[in-house]
């Protein structure tokens, strides 16, 4: 995001709060050294005066300067969509991530003859504001596409029929967010063309994922040809190898499962 910079006036590291998506990568990813800040600044000034630069480990914060803020609504939504370690209960958003096709062998979420789309905004590392996601949701809803219920973005809609999101979150910026839909195979091309049209108007990047059920012998000859015809070169995929099975009834309580 590039939200951290050295303020030329104060000479201190500063966080641009509008750009910061509350991913906590600085807090969680950096190791901490707990040195005295005055000592560290003095050493740096002396070195700088002599045109000498210390070459420290680049992933260590010498003074353990980062501390998590107490986030309130709607800013807390940023963290829910940006920090993969955050417990989703803090926002009421239904799950940080989605199981999508990863558990399709157990859930049957995408059936034969269907195509599941994950339309991910802001990835990789660009970020997105919800008002841009809303543009896509409106267009999809207008095309009579239904949104996946067990998805964090869907849970923030005030009107799933029109794809309208809560107005108080529209200005919030997040690392990335996924809109999940499912359509019959025959509509796959139409959806992709619709995404192409809308993404031109957005100020961010979009990562498209297309999931489908394989045939009896593990073959997939239905969706891949459509995608190739549209000009996509298929390089990478996530393949569910079908080893999962249901072993508990719906009434049985679930453990606290963290899916990302």
């Amino acid at each position: 995001m590039g939200a951290i910079y050295i303020d030329p006036q104060t000479k201190r590291a500063t966080i641009d709060r509008d750009e910061c998506v509350e991913c906590y990568a600085c807090y969680n990813g950096l190791s901490q050294e707990h040195l005295n800040p005055t000592f560290v600044r003095t050493v740096r000034k002396v070195f700088a005066a002599m045109r000498v630069r210390f070459d420290p480990e680049p992933d260590v914060c010498p003074t353990a300067a980062f501390e998590p803020d107490e986030l309130t609504w709607p800013r807390v939504v940023r963290r829910a969509f940006s920090d993969p370690r955050v417990p989703h209960e803090s926002t009421g958003v239904e799950g940080r991530g989605t199981e999508e096709v990863k558990t399709n062998d157990v859930t049957g979420r995408v059936k034969v003859g269907e195509v599941g789309f994950t339309i991910e905004f802001g990835r990789p590392g660009v970020g997105v504001r919800f008002r841009e996601i809303q543009e896509m949701c409106w267009a999809l809803a207008k095309a009579n596409v239904s949104f996946e219920k067990k998805n964090p973005v869907t849970s923030l809609m005030t009107d799933v029929g029109t794809g309208t999101l809560r107005p108080d979150i529209l200005a919030e910026k997040v690392m990335s967010a996924i809109v999940e839909i499912k359509v019959p195979v025959e509509r796959a091309e139409e959806v992709i063309r619709l995404v192409w049209e809308v993404e031109k108007k957005l100020d961010t990047v979009v990562a498209l994922g297309v999931a489908t059920r394989c045939g009896e012998f593990g073959e997939e000859t239905v969706v891949a040809p459509v995608l190739e015809r549209l000009g996509y070169k298929l390089e990478r995929a996530k393949t569910n190898i079908g080893l999962g099975r249901v072993n508990q009834s719906a009434a049985e309580p679930s453990q606290q499962t963290v899916n990302v």
Binding site: P124, G209, A237, V258, N259
Partner: protein, 225 residues
């Protein structure tokens, strides 16, 4: 989240990148998933992974809350696989990353024989995943294709930076850190191995591939793409 799916690169660039992960499904098979996930990770160890991780605690290289200042001169950069297995305390996605197809094939075959009952996915090139399935005599159940990045792609960094940073699908490895590591290697301030470990510590679920990162960093030393 589709954290393993959208890695930047062509199919050939995934020749040393095989992620096999197990995932329980809420209210379907998660009540007894914890010991099965531990077993999954333990078995993976036998096939010499380059990373192991769980989505809650991270991978085999993690940041430290209390670094000794001497670490700037001497730091342990070996992965701690046992910490991943021992630290798993909640059913979540568990991943093993391999840098060769043979290890991935053998592991997938073994996991099929173990019959854990959890959903297992292979994330790599389409051909690489098919190869693993054929070796283990498995018919693919479902497939999720990555169609790459679209929209305002001018906001994306160059292909080497993108290849490094997208190895954490959650975006915890910033483009600027990846770029900085390439520069460190170019300036011979760090080895590719050291640079890969810095990046690895930011990945929050252990799917970062340090082996592929080393190759990309070594390549970037002389060629900017």
């Amino acid at each position: 989240m589709t954290n393993t799916l959208h890695r930047s690169g062509d199919a050939e660039s995934f020749r040393d990148d095989y992620i096999v992960f197990a995932i329980p499904s809420k209210k379907k098979n998660d009540t007894d998933a914890l010991p099965k996930l531990r077993r999954f990770l333990q078995i993976a160890l036998e096939y010499k992974p380059v990373n192991l991780g769980d989505a809650r605690h991270g991978g085999a290289l993690r940041s430290s809350r209390n670094v000794n200042p001497l670490a700037h001169w001497k730091r342990d950069i070996s992965p701690d696989f046992q910490a991943v297995i021992g630290g798993l305390d909640v059913p979540t996605t568990c991943a093993a990353v391999f840098d060769n197809v043979s290890a991935a094939e053998q592991f997938v075959k073994r996991i099929k024989e173990e019959d854990l009952g959890l959903s297992v996915n292979v994330s790599t090139s389409i051909q690489g995943a098919e190869q693993c399935c054929q070796f283990a005599c498995i018919e693919r159940h479902s497939v999720g294709y990555s169609l790459g990045f679209e929209g305002k792609t001018e906001k994306l960094p160059n292909s080497q930076v993108a290849a490094l940073s997208t190895m954490c699908g959650h975006g915890m490895i910033s483009h600027s850190l990846a770029k900085k590591m390439i520069d460190f290697v170019k300036e011979d301030r760090r080895t590719p191995e050291q640079a890969a470990t810095y990046l690895s510590r930011f990945c929050s679920c252990g799917i970062f591939n340090p082996s592929r990162a080393k190759r990309i960093l070594e390549d970037a030393r002389t060629k900017t793409k």
